[in-house]
């Protein structure tokens, strides 16, 4: 049973791709609250709903949307939610619960300018928030997409990963990706051999409690500090065990690179182009793109950075990716510089100019 017959190349906007991907993965329900620039995810999900028997509820705010999402997951529904900006800030409360109780649900984040209401369009300023924004340890899976094809592929993968590993999973996009138009291949994941989520009721599984199975007792609250630590260390062990299976990155390598340009999300498009331009100009540049920001691809980043004389981090935020990179490169001697443009797009030309400038300085 595939809602998508064969493979179809279509001209779409990013938000629509998200709705179609969730549908293709077998998602059954979405909860949400309007906020630009993710509204079309809801619009398209509700347009697809009647034909495919999908559920949707617009709640009174993002707190409620997040908790409704958790409730649906506990009932055994393949469910997702979407938000942006200040909505993402509100979502941290339910997301923290999802971390504590290991609830498998997916949040699609279309970053907009911050902090607070700021701009409705674009930034990479929710990177830290999406990775670590709750009052916990950030036990989350976060995929940062840079194309519509990524949005399609990783919404499906996030839904699978959430249920496979039982951590809240995120697709971190942005307003440019949400609104941009480009061709994308929609495909049926099952026919393509892609892992599909395997879903079951969490709160009321089969069998009689205490007769056929242990009673389900989901807790997000503990009375004794040591008990909390025990529970958390269990989650953390699971998280570390899972990391090698989940972590992903991409490189635009060259032989004997001297400079490494690091970027994620839509900025990677400009970074990759900049690396090609730099090479044409005789500068041996390589590019590194973390695809999972949580867990962070520390090993492959260190391996790439060890070889170079300069690392340049590029982002549409003021150091959110840079601080992750610096943390992971700690101990390596390579200088790290950055091109930081909070809330504003970064062009390939700007990256090229920065790299040339930094190369002269170090």
């Amino acid at each position: 049973m595939g809602v998508i017959q064969g493979t179809q190349r279509q001209f779409m906007t990013g938000n629509e791709v998200v709705a179609w991907a969730a549908l293709a993965a077998g998602a059954q329900a979405m909860f949400g609250y309007p906020i630009t620039p993710q509204n079309e995810i809801m619009h398209y999900w509700t347009r697809l709903a009647p034909e495919h028997g999908l559920r949707f509820l617009q709640t009174e705010d993002e707190l409620s949307a997040g908790f409704a999402t958790i409730g649906a997951a506990l009932a055994g529904s393949l469910v997702f939610c979407a938000t942006a900006g200040p909505g993402n800030v509100l979502m941290q409360e339910p997301i923290s619960m999802a971390e504590m109780m290991r609830v498998p649900a997916v949040w699609v984040i279309q970053q907009r300018g911050g902090p607070s209401t700021a701009t409705v369009i674009y930034s990479q300023q929710e990177t830290r928030l999406t990775c670590f924004g709750g009052n916990g340890e950030g036990l989350r899976i976060v995929y940062s997409t840079s194309s519509h094809q990524d949005l399609f592929d990783y919404v499906i993968k996030a839904l699978w990963a959430a249920w496979e590993f039982r951590f809240p999973a995120f697709v971190l996009g942005d307003g440019y990706q949400a609104k941009m138009r480009e061709p994308v291949t929609l495909y049926d994941p099952e026919s393509a051999g892609v892992n599909l989520p395997s879903v079951e009721p969490i709160l009321k599984p089969e069998g009689v409690p205490s007769v056929d199975r242990e009673p389900v007792h989901l807790r997000n609250t503990f009375n004794i500090e040591e008990e909390l630590m025990d529970v958390l260390m269990g989650h953390i062990r699971d998280y570390l065990d899972m990391s090698s299976r989940v972590v992903e990155s991409e490189e635009h390598p060259c032989e004997d690179p001297e400079v490494l340009v690091v970027a994620h999300g839509v900025v990677w498009r400009s970074a990759r182009e900049a690396v090609s331009v730099l090479r044409d100009q005789g500068i041996k540049a390589g590019g590194f793109r973390p695809i999972t920001l949580r867990p962070f691809p520390e090993e492959s980043l260190r391996a790439a950075a060890e070889k170079v004389k300069l690392t340049v981090v590029v982002e549409s935020a003021y150091g959110q990716l840079e601080s992750m990179v610096r943390d992971r490169l700690y101990g390596l001697k390579v200088p790290v510089r950055s091109l930081l443009k909070p809330g504003v797009g970064v062009t390939a030309e700007e990256i090229v100019d920065s790299v040339i400038q930094f190369s002269k300085e170090v």
Binding site: Q8, R9, W20, I35, R47, T117, V120, K179, P183, G345
Partner: protein, 229 residues
Amino acid sequence: MTRSRGNSARVVDAFVGEYASGKTEVSINRALDLSREFGTVTLLDLDTEEPVYTVRSVKPVLEERGLEVVALDADRVFGLGEAGVTVTAEMLGVLSRTGHIVIDVGYGVHGAAALNLVEGIEDEPQIRIYCVVNARRPMTSTPELIASYLESLDPCDFIVNNTHLGNETSLEVILDGIRTVTRASEITGIPVAAVSVAASVVERLRLAERDLGAPLWSLELFMVGSPRL
């Protein structure tokens, strides 16, 4: 495209359609074409939903090209996209202007209803409503889906076939699109006014030499590149 408009020479063309179907590109080009032939043309941005891909984002460029553009100035509006887009008296009273008028109406079923806000639109004898369709978008990818979409709108006079796949547009995409949209036209009885194609594609595929079953509108693209507010 020649058609009779009775004694009045004024053109009032409104473009509606599915989200990202190409309404804005087609509206802008229609306005520029008319201005080359006929002089004063007013282009009205009546998109009350979209914060990015709109006429207002390229207003200065279009004014340089001689169009009168009625649209909000992005830097003079607070909270665009959150508080909703303001509709000004200038926008609502556009029909009181002399000269030709082209209206880019917002997306989807609810956006199209914004046209009803324009004062006097229900009595305007020259109004022609075009539904822009890209048959390479999932919700309008088959004749039946297109017909069903057209039926969900207030009655349209024409279809503009804007089928494309961005920079992957091939001859097959164009010809397939023509087949699909023509069939939708047969189902609904709404004629196809034109096949609109990006100028670079017209050149690459030598479309001007072909019979596409409807007039060819060659489009200069204004919405490409990084999104701008």
